[in-house]
Amino acid sequence: MLNYLLFIATMGGLYGLLALSLNLIWGGAGMVNLGLAGFFAVGAYASAIFTTAGHAPIVAGWALAVIAGGFAGLVVTLSTTRLREDYLAIVTLGFAEVVRLVAANEIWLTRGTDGISGIPGPWKSALGPDFNAVYLLIVLAVLGAVFVLVRRIDRSPYGRVLRAIREDAQVAQVAGKPVLRFKAEAFALSAAIAGLAGALYAHFTSYIAPDLFLPLITIYIFLAVAGGGTGRPAGALVGAYLLMLLLESARFFVELVPAISAVQRAALKELLIAVVLILVLRLAPGGVMPERIPTAPRPSTQGKP
């Protein structure tokens, strides 16, 4: 039982990282990343390959995952600079598909659909059964650090510029803000966080395969952020844990329904999850922790003519 709770808490933390990543650009700058699973995969594969085939230490793998995720994010935003901003959504969706196809078909690099197994966990053999608890602490520490980082960004002048871009990019441009640079930076940072989440995932479960990175995970994270509250890092975190709670408690709930076949039970579970998500979107617009727009600082009179 304890192991199960530790496991769910760790998974919730990893989903939380992804939710923070999405919130940074969606809630922050109004950019839509339908390819979250792709950046998650890039990080997971970068770290897994580097630490298994390359025998690098785990921390180096994680660092590489951050760099690889951020780099992939830059490539994606820069390849869309000539496009209308709305189309970023479809390009990211395509990016995630391409990542998954490469992971499945370029066997020389990724071991194909076999996946990469035996990815080392930090001090795993020494810790034995305590591994899950220690890993949860690691994930929570990373989550806390990222949370503090994005909240600082959120409240800084930088975050205000991002929000200005979200509300009206043209006005921000006219106000002299380099909109493109801001967006590229924010997107790369967000992708780097997703990459880090991927690496943490890989070293936790010790196995990754292309099937892990289906669009379903992106959908889940969108639902978590929308349910928790867009535009507020705490909302994203709460949303991620609520989502995990929903996914897991649905499992126990359908066990109470008598006299249906296994496949009907599974269908009912998925159905229940989807219905609850629609209800949350409908009944709590803005999520359970809606965005608080800070009042604009009063323009000081001094220094003005």
Binding site: A274, R282, P285
Partner: protein
């Protein structure tokens, strides 16, 4: 020669894809959000048509059943789950529509299980026109799809309601001033758009087989076709569907079938870079 054959194959599958893509793009034009529940609606249409066909209805009757059931359920979901969210923006509505698609998929799974089902229709060997071969059934389904497309375009061009739809897609405020009731137009767009998606699902099922994931398999292609053609443009959706169909078949010859979705997306990236509004999009939203 195999190149020409691949082009023909691409046209055939593109035409089938065009029907749901028109529905998707028409809904976008009026309702202003990408309705991803088309995955579930296409499956629903396929199952409704399958049940009607198994109950002894002719093909036309089964298609009508697919249209009506998909249209009614689509309209209901739009009213209950999606449209109330549009005022917060297109994205929340789009997210809710993904969840509705999952709901439909699992309702069907609950009722029918995962087993494959097929329309009991005769399959014939292909006809040969010179070196090119075409399948009589696929010609038939293609004919149905083309006839439907013509009907849709005629309705948009000549009927009052069609004109009202175009008007309110172009400029909702102006249309409202002219006495076009936006609510009614929206409902018709939901019903007809989803009806077309339902028929699209059934046409696909005629040719392959149906199960709870039928619509999910074509969701990306529908979306890609609509974006490529310019979201909101029915003619564009047809063109986009053909392009996607052909690109996917040609990709088999060039990079191999596993990378076909990637080829579709690169086509989109290139087209949108050169023509930011899509092939025929008047405005890009």
């Amino acid at each position: 020669m195999i190149l020409l054959q691949a082009l023909v194959n691409g046209m055939v599958s593109g035409t089938l894809l065009a029907v749901p893509a028109i529905g998707f793009t028409a809904m976008f034009a009026v309702l202003r959000f990408p309705n991803f529940s088309v995955s579930g609606i296409a499956t629903l249409g396929a199952f409704a048509g399958y049940l009607a066909y198994s109950a002894g209805l002719q093909l036309a009757g089964a298609l009508a059943a697919a249209f009506v059931v998909a249209g009614v359920v689509g309209l209901f979901l739009d009213r209950v789950a999606h449209l109330p969210l549009v005022k917060q923006g297109a994205l929340p509505a789009a997210i809710a529509s993904i969840a509705s698609g999952l709901v439909l998929e699992n309702v069907i799974r609950f009722g029918f299980g995962n087993d494959l089902r097929g329309f009991d229709r005769p399959i014939a060997r292909d006809m040969h026109l010179g070196d090119i071969r075409v399948s009589p059934q696929q010609l038939e389904t293609m004919g149905i799809a083309l006839a439907l497309m013509l009907a849709v375009f005629a309705a948009l061009a000549f009927t009052r309601i069609g004109k009202a739809m175009r008007a309110s897609a172009d400029n909702p405020e102006l249309a409202a001033l002219k006495g076009i009731r936006p609510q009614r137009v929206a409902m018709i767009a939901s019903f007809v758009g989803m009806g077309l998606v339902g028929i699209g699902g059934m046409l696909l099922g005629l040719d392959s087989s149906i199960d709870p994931l039928t619509g999910t398999r074509i969701l990306l292609s529908i979306f890609a076709a609509a974006v490529l053609g310019g979201l909101g443009s029915p003619t564009g959706a047809v063109l986009g569907a053909w392009l996607i169909g052909i690109a996917e078949e040609l990709s088999v010859l060039v990079v191999g079938s596993p990378y076909r979705t990637a080829v579709g997306f690169f086509a989109i990236l290139i087209v949108l870079t050169l023509r930011p509004r899509g092939l025929l999009g008047e405005r890009a939203y």
